[in-house]
Every structure is written in C-alpha cells, then in structure tokens.
C-alpha cells in the first residue's frame, strides 16, 4: 500500500476511473486514480509549506546543525590566526538561529544575555605531597591572576579589537598605541557559511522529499 505505482496503475484501494466521455475516454487518457494516494499527495503538499510547524522545526534543526559546524570551523581558523591567545578568545565565536525567519548567523558580537560561560584556565597545582595539608600554598602569580580575573564573561571584545583594530589609546601611563585590524573573521567566516549554505540546500531538498515520502507511505 501507499506505493506510487498504485497511484497510476490503480491497483490500490479506492481506485476509480478518471476517464472522460462516454466511450473510450478512459482508454484515451490511460489514467486511473487512487483516491487514497491523491489525498496523501494533497496532504503532503500542505505539509511541505514552511508554515507547517513540524516541517519548520525540522528545517530549523538542519540550519542549527550546519551553523554549529560552520561556527566550529570558523573558531578553529580564528584560533590558528591568533599568534598568542592565552585567554582562549577564539571561543567567543558564536552562532544563533533565528526564531521568526528561516536562517541564522555566526558572529563575534557581544552576547545579549549572560548565557555562555567559557572554561577558565585551571590553576596550576604544585603541591602534590599527600602529607602536606593546607592546600596550595604557592601564591597565584600576577600573570595567572590577570588571566583568571579580568572583567567580563564575554571574550568577544578581544576578538573584536584584533579583528577590527582600535584607535590610538592615550592613557595616563602613556601612549598605548593602536591595534591594526587583522580581519581574520571576515576572511574565514563567509567561506564556511557558503559551505553551510550549500549543505543546507541539499538537506532541505532531502527533507522535502522525506516529507513527501512519509505521506505517501502512510496513506
């Protein structure tokens, strides 16, 4: 049941002639109709609209999956582009999927809410003597302190500074100079997004075929 061939050959249940005219019309057209299959076809069409909740969810899942992959590749490229990145700023590359329209983005913009928490660098444990109580007695170095305690959770600002550059900063301690823009994000992200777009397009096609298939098999 539910085979596409039933639709034309009319071997399924509920088959009736679609022939026209009193004599020989059916022979002329050579078509018989399986009403169950036709109904399934109509249902499939309705389900293939993106306004269908189920279909929409499935499409968004595809977009999310591919955007995540694109984000990971972009982050890896950014990591490679940075000569020294002790605070693991490359992890601030983030992705998001839109709710209203089908789509999403990969960005290094500031997070809108405190959602993401990044792994901090673990403190070095130097005291491995089991008889020595009282914890790690070696004080944290200035360097470690700096790494662990800078203000703000989002490291995206480091990336944005390096990616877009800064103006000269004159502080009370002197001229701190300007950061030249590296533009590493724009060199790598669009490329990975193009790849994601192509994969999404293919996946969409497969998804629509699957939706159609499901309906025809469930008739």
């Amino acid at each position: 049941m539910g085979r596409l061939s039933d639709y034309i050959n009319g071997t399924g249940a509920g088959t009736r002639s679609a022939g026209v005219g009193a004599a020989g019309g059916n022979d002329m057209l050579g078509v018989e109709v399986n009403e169950a299959a036709a109904e399934a076809h109509l249902k499939a069409l309705a389900r293939m609209l993106t306004s269908d909740k189920d279909t929409r969810k499935r499409l968004q899942a595809i977009i999310r999956r591919e955007l995540k992959a694109a984000r990971n590749r972009t982050a890896a490229d950014v990591h490679n582009a940075l000569e020294n990145d002790p605070r693991k700023a490359y992890r601030a590359v983030k992705h998001s999927v839109y709710k209203q329209i089908l789509g999403g983005n990969v960005s290094i913009l500031a997070a809108r809410k405190a959602g993401a928490k990044y792994e901090l660098i673990r403190q070095r444990i130097v005291d491995t003597d089991p008889h020595h109580h009282g914890g790690n007695r070696i004080p944290m170095s200035d360097r470690t302190y700096n790494l662990q305690t800078y203000y703000g959770k989002d490291r995206g600002f480091i990336l944005r500074f390096i990616n877009s550059g800064t103006v000269e900063r004159h502080t009370r301690f002197g001229n701190r100079g300007a950061i030249a823009p590296r533009g590493m994000f724009e060199r790598t992200a669009p490329w990975h997004l193009d790849t994601a777009a192509a994969v999404v397009a293919e996946a969409f096609e497969q998804e629509f075929a699957a939706v159609y298939n499901e309906e025809m098999n469930n008739q």
Partner: protein
C-alpha cells in the same frame, strides 16, 4: 574601529517556494475539477509534483551562494528553455521528428552558450582594472620615451601587455558570440554558417536582406542568359545573389530582437579586435617608424591609407561584397528576358526535368488531400476525447503534453548515460519543463484575446456559444488552430505513428518524473502505464 565584518548571516528566501507550493495545490484542485471528480484529487500529480519540485529547487537556490551550483542550475534552466523554444518552433514548422533527433545538440549548445556568456561576464567583471593598468602603463611608457627617460623596449613591452589583455578579452567575446550563434541556430533549426554570414555585414544590414525578394535568380541565369556559366565575375554575382536571397529567406523566420542582440555581441568582439590594431598603430607612431601598410599584402593592396594588412583585407572583402550586392540589385532591376536562341540543349533538358517535377508535385498534392481526410478523422477522435475536459488550460496541456512527454522521454534516454546532470538536477530539468508548460498554457490563455490568426484558446467564462465572430458562435475554452498548426499536428500524427494517440495526458509525464524520483530514492522504476 575599522569596518571589518563581525557577523555573517544565512537566510532562506521562502516566498517563492511557498508561492509555488500553493500554486501546485491550486493546479491540483483545478485539474481534478476539470476531470469531473468532486474530490480534490486526481492524476494531475505530474503537474503538481513538477511544480513542487521546482519550488524545492528554488528554495534550495536561495541557499546556494556557491557559484558552481548556481551555474549548474543556470545551465539546466537555459537548456530547458531552449528545449521548450525548440519544441514551439518545431510545432510551427511541423518538423517534430527532426526536433527529437536534434534535442541533444540543442541542449549542448544551450549549455555552451551559458558557459561562454558567464565566462565573459566574469572576465569583464574582474579584468577591467588590469586592462586599465595596462593601458595607463602604455601611455606612460610612450610619454617617458618622448621625454627621453624611457626606452623603446619598455614601450614595446607595455604595448604587448596591453595587446595581451585586449586579445584575451576579444577571445572571450568571440567565444561567447560563436556559442550564442550556435545556440540560436540549433534552437531555431537554421544553418549556423548561414546565420553567421547574414549577421557578418558582408551583405549589408540584415534588415535589408530580409526584404530581398525570392526571385529564383539561379534559375534565370542558369539558362545561360547574359552571363552564361563560368567562374568569372558574373558567375560570382549570380552565386552571391542566390546566397543573399537564401539568407533573406532564412532571416524572415527569425526574431528581430534576438538578431540585433546577436549582432551586438559580434560587434563587441570586432571593436575589441580593432582596439588591438589601434595599439599597433600607436606603437608605430610613438616610436617614429615608418608604418607598414597593406601594399605588401596583395596585388590590389595599398589603396586605403592608414590600414593594417588585416584591416585592409577586411575592408577589401566588405567592399567586394558591397559591390556585388549593388550589381545584383541593378541586374535584377533590368533582368534580361532569356532568348530562345541562347538556350542550349542542356538547358532544355533541365527545363523538362523541372516540368516533370511540377507534375510530380501536383500528384503528391492530390495524395496529400486524400491523406488529410484520414488525418482529420484522427484529429476529431483526439479532439472528441479532449473535449470532455472542461478546463481550457487542461485541454491545451493535454495536447501539448503528449508531445512533450515523448520528447522528454527521448531526452531522458539520450542523456541518462552521460549523466552529467545527476538525478537531482535532472528532476529539476523535468520540473522546469513542466512548470514552463503550465505557465505557457496560461500565457496562451491571456494572449489569445482578440483574433485567432495564430490559433489559441478562447478566453473568458462564456459558454453556450455566446461569443460571436463574423459567422460562428464560439464558447470559452474552445481551442482554435490556424492552418499551419493544423498541418503541424497532422504531420506529427503521421510521422510519429502512435505517439500522440497512445501517450496519456499525464501518464507519461508522471511516469517520467516519478521514475526519476524512484531512482533517486532507490525505489526503482515504480510506474508503468498499462497501455504501453
């Protein structure tokens, strides 16, 4: 802060897709109504699935920023369009079987044309800066040389660089022109070389050629008239006259806008070639050398001052043909009456043969009339079956789809082995053809308001013969075919044997689309028509 990008977005344009799905639903429902079934379901699956698949492709394309995929889609669309155009053309000419034979050539030419034009566009987009640099370099080198700071070698090198750039562009333009000519010739079923010649300007403007009457100058001069046989000037005039008339006859079938477009493409390539020659002239002038003219090129060279040998050859060729064309015109004006005494025995034999041929032709015409009765009978059978369909759109689709289904199947078999397109693009191709057809039916519907000299479907919702022409009452939805269309269908029925009669309104088409679908999903060829 600089202007570096901090965000990249991916969005799907689903409007088109949604629209087409809804259109598919409407088509589906309308078609069921037309078959007199009250439920919203029937065998229009071919149409509906076709439109849906196209929609899926369109939605997919919204994501396809990848140039390669977009190009492939462009090629497929262009091919489908050419196949469709060629089909319409064959309906007018009645040469359906010839069209089926050439369908592969049409597709290949269309793909080649798309590629060539695309390459030209890409080249122009990215190479303008290089060309400008080369041009500036050349000018600067000349200035430096004049001021005594540069060397001859540097001027020559700069000229070579500029020429290289220009030649490359000219190469692309020429390739695009060639491909476009081939594409159009294949599509309209005309000779490629003749089309090229007609647009080359050898015979002047192609519009003038279009107006040249078909006088049969060959026959008039064949008999030995004032020129006689031979290879001299007069003989060449005769040949050229024939050629011009043949070209005019061919051009009358073709579209003016398209011809102008092709000619413009050709002229671009020509003007680039001229630019290359100008660089040579500038180089010679800048270095203060004596210019090489066409005097060494041939016996009659050296006439035109300031032309390179190549330009001279071109000019001479055109002047020659212009002179020929003028002579033809003057000769035709006072064409001599062939005198009896000048006609040789050989000529008389030719005349007799000609008379025989006319007799044979007359016989064949009679036979044609007899055949016509049979054909008319067949047409009325088909018409009777199709008359049961209420929807006028369904009627025209019913007729046309029979042909297209067969064509598409032929194409499927022909290209299945090449499999360059792959099943997905293939499905897209099939769907495009279908969607075009659905669109075409409604276009026919809209454009057939008023007269029916070109055939068409009576528009509107007026039944019971409410609409009146001079002598007859007609109803909306009736299909009117003009004489050439009737002949075309008649010859189609004759040539293709059972093709039109055994094909089904949607059976073939559905089978074609769904079999592709089945192959793709590994279900195998799931559909068979019980009548085939």
């Amino acid at each position: 802060m600089g202007k570096a990008t901090s965000i990249v977005r991916l969005t799907a344009e689903t409007n088109d897709y949604e629209k087409k799905i809804k259109q598919a639903q409407r088509t589906f429902n309308n078609f069921t109504k037309s078959l007199g079934i009250d439920m919203k379901k029937v065998s229009a699956l071919g149409l509906a699935l076709g439109a849906v698949t196209t929609a899926v492709k369109v939605a997919g394309d919204a994501f396809k920023n990848n140039e390669k995929i977009v190009d492939e889609w462009g090629r497929v669309t262009k091919s489908a369009q050419s196949v469709y155009d060629g089909f319409l053309n064959s309906l007018n000419t009645g040469n359906i079987s010839g069209y089926i034979r050439n369908i592969n050539d049409i597709v290949n030419a269309a793909r080649a044309a798309y590629d060539a034009l695309d390459e030209l566009g890409t080249f122009n987009a990215f190479n303008q800066i290089n060309e400008m640099k080369a041009r500036t370099g050349f000018t600067e080198a000349i200035t430096a040389f004049r001021e005594g700071t540069g060397s001859k070698e540097s001027v020559r090198a700069a000229a070579e660089a500029l020429k290289g750039q220009l030649s490359e562009r000219q190469n692309y333009e020429q390739t695009a022109y060639d491909a476009a000519i081939r594409d159009y010739a294949e599509k309209r079923g005309v000779n490629e070389e003749m089309l090229r010649k007609a647009l080359s300007g050898s015979y002047g403007d192609y519009k003038a050629l279009k107006n040249l009457p078909l006088t049969g100058v060959e026959n008039r001069y064949q008999a030995g008239g004032m020129f006689g046989q031979g290879t001299g000037y007069s003989y060449q005039v005769k040949v050229a006259a024939n050629e011009a008339e043949a070209l005019g006859e061919m051009l009358r079938k073709l579209n003016d806008n398209k011809l102008a477009e092709l000619q413009a493409l050709g002229k671009t390539a020509e003007s680039t070639a001229y630019e290359v020659s100008q660089v040579d002239r500038q180089l010679v002038r800048a270095l203060g050398q004596k210019r090489v003219t066409g005097s060494g090129g041939g016996a009659t060279g050296g006439g035109q001052k300031g032309l390179t040998p190549e330009q001279y050859a071109e000019w001479y060729g055109m002047a020659y043909y212009t002179a020929l064309a003028n002579t033809i015109n003057s000769e035709l004006k006072d064409a001599p009456i062939i005198q009896e005494s000048l006609i040789s025995e050989e000529d008389i034999a030719i005349e007799e043969k000609f008379a025989d041929a006319i007799e044979t032709l007359a016989e064949r015409t009679e036979r044609l009339h007899e055949t016509w009765d049979l054909v008319a009978g067949s047409i009325s059978t088909v018409g009777g079956a199709l008359a049961g369909l209420e929807d006028p759109t369904a009627r025209i689709i019913g007729t046309a789809m029979q042909a297209v289904a067969t064509l598409a199947l032929a194409y499927a078999e022909a290209t299945a082995k090449a499999a360059k397109l792959g099943p997905v693009a293939w499905l897209g191709f099939a769907a495009t053809g279908l969607a075009t057809f659905v669109g075409a039916a409604s276009t026919i519907k809209n454009t057939t308001k008023g007269g029916f000299a070109d055939g068409g479907i009576v528009p509107g919702n007026y039944y019971n013969d409410q609409l009146h022409t001079a002598d007859y009452g007609i109803s909306s939805g009736e299909l009117i075919l003009n004489k050439s269309q009737q002949n075309a269908i008649a010859s189609q029925l004759r040539q293709a044997g059972g093709m039109a009669l055994t094909a089904t309104v949607s059976g073939e088409q559905i089978r074609f689309v769904l079999n592709n679908y089945g192959r793709r999903t590994g279900r195998g060829e799931v559909l068979t028509s019980k009548f085939n």
